[in-house]
Subunit: 479 residues, 2 copies
């Protein structure tokens, strides 16, 4: 930060803050960079610790830097050129049969190709996951699991794992008993079982838009119809609109991702969640809550879940460890509330039970506190990556690009100039070894044709930067 001495004690903190602000503006300090500790700052500038604190408070108040729990201060953004957030699109609130999207298959086809820069996945890079420590838990399970984990596991799931999942619910204030947990093969099976438990083919389900394409696919595949509820990139599903839709047509279930929606990154404020649960309780409509990103928050506190506000067992809470610990272990769960029996029977019919070994290993990993420890590191890494990717998009994309401000999760939701067809852009990008998801696959109404989802699960490096630069250049060419 360079050394300097101040003679006047008056407003010294403003001078220090101003210096830092200038460095941010000139991109000497970039988004995600860690700032010196308060102690180091006070020593470098020859000021008191209190004054150093004051400088950081001032910059935090301006939104330029932020404190991260137990980690220190980080550059948050350069507000002089920060772009607008993407617009909300109002989907037509009419029932429509979901159609299979060939686009998805095309985009996913080459995703594993060698040398591909992959912005398509909404998942952490494997280097961010604690594989070696997890291996130890597997070896533990082989040695200590009943019959070396070779036998069938209970249909509802391993008892120790269900205890740990119940414990995990403490993080959002949940009081869950192990008997209320059903272990699944990832969150996708959780959602399938929930949908099958509360709907029949031909029924209509309310889903926010934009939403993860897998959700539309599974709904179509189960012979269900979908109504899209518009979702704000900051606060999530529009509850007034949802109420209107429920008034207008027979909705058999709602399926929402309240925390860090994929792709918009929105996080429904807790008071909205409360209101939402009151609404569905009044109308006796089950709510399937996909909370797969809930633990990956960047702020000081984990956002609550809808399940937290559930008094009648109507919220079916779904989550998994696929986005936060071990995608390949396929360990997810449901807190199905009053639908426990139906969900368990369906689990039995679908797969009898989930594998024993992975359940016992994960239960051990969680029980010795390694998951919480890992999460702390993962959250920090993702937060930094998020900010760094935003900066990259700002640097290489056209001026009128709009970018979401996720407060958790893995993805940026980007709105480009209306002239840009992002599906064409994605096909073009594939030719340049860059894979990215076009907006249209996140809706069932052909909206978002100028939107793009960029996953920031991979740590920032030259390859990523080059990939974003390539994308930005392609966008500019298409305008």
């Amino acid at each position: 930060m360079g050394k300097a001495k101040f003679t006047s004690e008056d407003h010294i903190y403003l001078q220090v803050a101003g210096g830092i602000e200038q460095m941010i503006a000139e991109e000497v300090l970039r988004i995600g960079d860690k700032l010196p500790s308060v102690r180091v700052l006070s020593e470098e500038y020859g000021i008191s610790m209190g004054t150093a604190f004051q400088a950081y408070y001032h910059l935090e108040g301006k939104g330029l830097i932020e404190a991260r729990p137990k980690s220190g201060y980080y550059v948050r953004f350069n507000h002089r050129r920060f772009p607008a957030v993407p617009n909300v699109i109002q989907p037509e609130p009419v029932t429509s049969e979901v159609t299979v999207q060939e686009m998805i298959m095309r985009i996913l086809r080459d995703i594993d190709a060698h040398d591909m820069v992959n912005f398509t996945l909404a998942a952490p890079a494997l280097e961010l996951l604690p594989a070696a420590k997890l291996n130890k838990s597997v070896v533990y399970a082989l040695r200590n699991g009943k019959d070396h984990c070779i036998g069938y596991e209970n249909t509802q799931g391993n008892a120790d794992l269900r205890k740990q999942i119940a414990r995990l619910a403490f993080n959002w204030g949940g009081k869950v008993r192990p008997e209320e947990v059903v272990i699944t093969s990832g969150c996708m099976e959780a959602i399938v079982l929930c949908l099958r438990a509360v709907t029949q083919p031909g029924d209509t389900v309310a889903v926010e838009a934009p939403a993860y394409f897998g959700i539309y696919q599974v709904i179509e595949n189960l012979g269900l119809k979908v109504v899209e509820i518009p979702s704000d990139p900051t606060t999530g599903a529009d509850l007034d609109c949802l109420q209107q839709v429920i008034n207008d047509m027979p909705i058999k279930a709602c399926l929402l991702v309240p925390n860090f929606n994929n792709p918009s990154g929105s996080c429904m404020p807790d008071e909205h969640k409360k209101k939402l649960v009151e609404m569905i309780t009044r109308l006796n409509i089950p709510l399937i809550e996909d909370d797969i990103y809930g633990e990956l928050y960047f702020g000081r506190h984990r956002p609550k879940t809808c399940k937290y506000y559930d008094t009648k067992g109507l919220v079916m809470h779904c989550s998994s460890l696929s986005k936060s610990l071990a995608p390949g272990y396929r360990v997810g769960w449901i807190l199905p509330g009053k639908f426990l029996e139906q969900v368990s029977a369906l689990k039995m019919m679908h797969t009898i039970s989930s594998p024993t070994l992975t359940q016992v290993a994960i239960a051990h990993f969680l029980s010795i506190g390694r998951y919480e420890y890992h999460l702390k590191n993962l959250r920090k890494a993702l937060h930094t990556q998020c900010l760094r990717y935003i900066q990259g998009v700002m640097q290489y994309f056209p001026e009128d690009t709009k970018i979401s401000r996720p407060q958790g999760g893995f993805v940026l939701w980007i709105e480009l100039n209306k002239k840009v067809d992002t599906y064409k852009l994605c096909l073009e990008a594939l030719k340049h070894q860059v894979s990215v998801a076009p907006g249209r696959i996140f809706s069932n109404s052909c909206n978002y044709s100028n939107y793009l989802r960029i996953g920031y699960g991979s740590p920032w490096d030259d390859k990523v930067e080059k990939g974003l630069k390539t994308l930005g250049n392609l966008v500019k060419k298409m305008m």
Copy 2:
């Protein structure tokens, strides 16, 4: 066998055979007992090896003993009091909505209770499975699998595992390419995916009766209707009847267990399989073939599969390792023929992919030849158990009891006097710490109310014997 010397060489083999036959009749030698080797026999009786062979050939011809490949001669049965096989029941060939069977839940509820003698499971006792060797393959997978197996696996399944599954098809003469295999979470998921790939809710599926109750449950649950095809306890589904049913109503798929059907133990002769596949090919009806017990044959050769005779890709072959290697690993597969694309898409929507670690471990276990080695031992053990259990039922059950003659698999299908309601019997048995499956749960037409399925997956011991004795006494009381 006692020492003896023969002076006349004429018909000495008949004298030796006669002595052994008497020992079998008097139950000095019991079903499943191993006979001395030909060499030992020749030494003991002071006869030539040729004469000793002749004696065994003679007894084998009479059906009293049998040669098992690479193992020697075993007592097969005591034909003087061997019971009849159960009768075929002709189900009414009318479409009926499958109803949920509370019986199943009741029977399964206490299955894990302490001290229960468990005849309900159609699975091997865990002590028959090679847990320690499998552990080594898991450790191998942790060390050598890509990214320590923490990442998502391919939706269709691990490439090495698919190679091994293709290789396994050699056992029944199949020529399968790894690209034609889809890995599933056990055989149950395989069947669900196949049914969903070729049917819509409201469609009708032909199923043999009796059949595993899980098949009826899943069919009901998918909103499908079922037509039952009568099945002979020796030769399996009645093909003339199937042809008639197909002529009479729109059948969208057939679901059969041609090899060692659960519960009847029937094995469809290979020429029937050929005829069956020709029939469904002519009529363009997909056949879902559940071959989960196919490797567990007691004879010299593995029975063929329907898939072997498939020329048009209409046979969807399903199997798993849950009954032969590791129930808790949940590794099954489909050879879906022409429905590969639909099945893969459904797999993606249901669970994204199966767990990576278990797939890599099983691939390794198979690749080093350990599965084939294990199967040889398992087949021998099951064959012995089968014969020993038959003997036990003969000893403790009433004279008029009829017993199936399975040539593979895990279960005996037992017909009792018509006066005996086996569901009541099962509830009564539970009070005596004996769990067994009543016949009625294996059909959708309230048939088999005096039938019983006894699993012989557990090695014979005093507890098993006591359990059979208890059951036999309860049956006698109910007559």
